[in-house]
Amino acid sequence: MDVPPTKPGAAAIEMQAVAVSAMRDQSIQVAEGINWTVAAGDYWVVAGLQGAGKSDFLMMTAGLMPPAQGSYRLFGEEMPIFDEARLNHRLRLGLVFDGGQLLNHLTVWENVALPLLYHESFAETEAHKEVQKLLVALELAPWAESTSGTMSRNWQKRVGLARALALQPEVLLVDTPLTGLDLPHVNWWLALLDQLSKGHPLLQGRPVTLVVTAADLRPWKGRAKQFAVLKNRRLAVLGTWEQAEAAKGELLDEVYE
């Protein structure tokens, strides 16, 4: 990537009066009036019930669809970026889907290698080493030759993470990483996201800006730095854990109590 990294604290994501459509039917609005800023190095958790629009919100944030209204900037550049000349800028942001969304005809190895080979980020032999490194770090090496249909949700989600990390994103959006996982995997995800936020060797120790969605805020206590709730088509920014607790009320009932 030939885009210089952003200094910690500078705005990575800036939304002003943004409205979000449903990905499946863009005539339906799932959220509106979103004013939200994510600084580089932040670690956000956006909570909401199923159907609240978390996935649509993340997909819009990832640039897969334009905001229905308002302005959204990623590192100062207006989103969505469909222009190929600015693709490198868009790829500063990575997205991990709820179910991994692996290409079902490819093996785990091929899924993770796909972005590297497509963008020719590395020579083929280097790409092989990068993929191997990711698979080993995320404990996926035994699954390298498996296709997604033969794996449990626990592992599919990890492959989705490995694929997103392959492009070394500066901002990582993770859609409900803990939903439907066994407890050891839940703990693994919490620990890994913690490391990514502080700087993981996989990304040369560079802290990643994280935005995670969740149906339950409690596992994130002491881990995420900032919290927000998506409810009734509004994104309510709560602030730190202490501020969220202080604001506890109707807004948080469903995702905290």
Binding site: L87, F97, Q101, L102, L114, Y118, E120, L167
Partner: protein
């Protein structure tokens, strides 16, 4: 037009990834269907050509054999049959694969990774199918003509192989070869475009994939017949 634009614009993009996919799709819509096509070529030879040769001999019109064979088999039946078979075997699979990928959110995953879905999913299928239909049509025509003669031979039709193939060669012109190549490529191209469009263009739910497949098959058949009609006009005009 979008696909053509992507083919031209990204001809050098991700060659190590895309070219193997093109070869894979060409094999899928071409060489892997050869056994079925050879079986069909023999059937076509027995059912149509053998009987035609036999009847032309009985009515004393064997001199028209070459012209009739070229019009019926080379210009019309061969290309259309090949196109419909590839549509049935590979076109339907295209809609199901792409529609399922769309419904499962795999296309959004590609976009999130900066991988152009048209480049990665459609271009290899379009090129593979255009090449595949062209190649299979040639095998189908050759197989049908040879097996047709064998059928006539079994029926004791007094026609030597040399005379049979001399008549065929005499009725064929350079234009036939050129238009056959263009027409069969157009069939493959349009089948791939229509089936990929129905698989990818709209956000689908899994239960909508079967309806999309039916629509794609119907539209592909109509598109092929219209292209065929266009080529009949060209043949008549030239």
């Amino acid at each position: 037009m979008i696909t053509l634009g992507v083919i031209l614009r990204k001809i050098r993009t991700a060659r190590h990834l895309i070219w193997p996919l093109i070869f894979q799709q060409t094999a899928r819509a071409g060489s892997r269907l050869l056994p079925m096509f050879l079986f069909l070529a023999v059937a076509l030879g027995l059912l149509v050509i053998g009987q035609t040769v036999s009847w032309l001999t009985r009515v004393g019109a064997i001199n028209f054999l070459g012209t009739i064979m070229v019009i019926v088999v080379v210009r019309e039946l061969g290309p259309l049959l090949a196109a419909f078979l590839v549509l049935a075997r590979i076109g339907t699979a295209n809609v199901i694969e792409l529609g399922t990928a769309r419904a499962r959110g795999e296309v959004e995953a590609l976009e999130a990774l900066g991988v152009d879905p048209v480049h990665y999913l459609v271009v290899p299928r379009v090129i593979g199918m255009a090449v595949g239909v062209s190649a299979l049509t040639v095998y189908l025509i050759l197989g049908a003509l040879v097996s047709g003669y064998l059928w006539a031979f079994v029926q004791d039709v007094p026609l030597r192989p040399g005379e049979y193939f001399r008549q065929l060669a005499g009725a064929l012109s350079g234009l036939d070869f050129a238009l056959l190549a263009v027409k069969t490529s157009a069939f493959g191209f349009i089948i791939a475009i229509v089936t990929c469009y129905h698989g990818l263009a709209q956000p689908l739910r899994l239960e909508e994939v079967s309806a999309a497949t039916v629509r794609a098959v119907a539209q592909s058949v109509v598109a092929c017949v219209l292209i065929d009609a266009l080529f009949i006009i060209i043949y008549l005009a030239v």
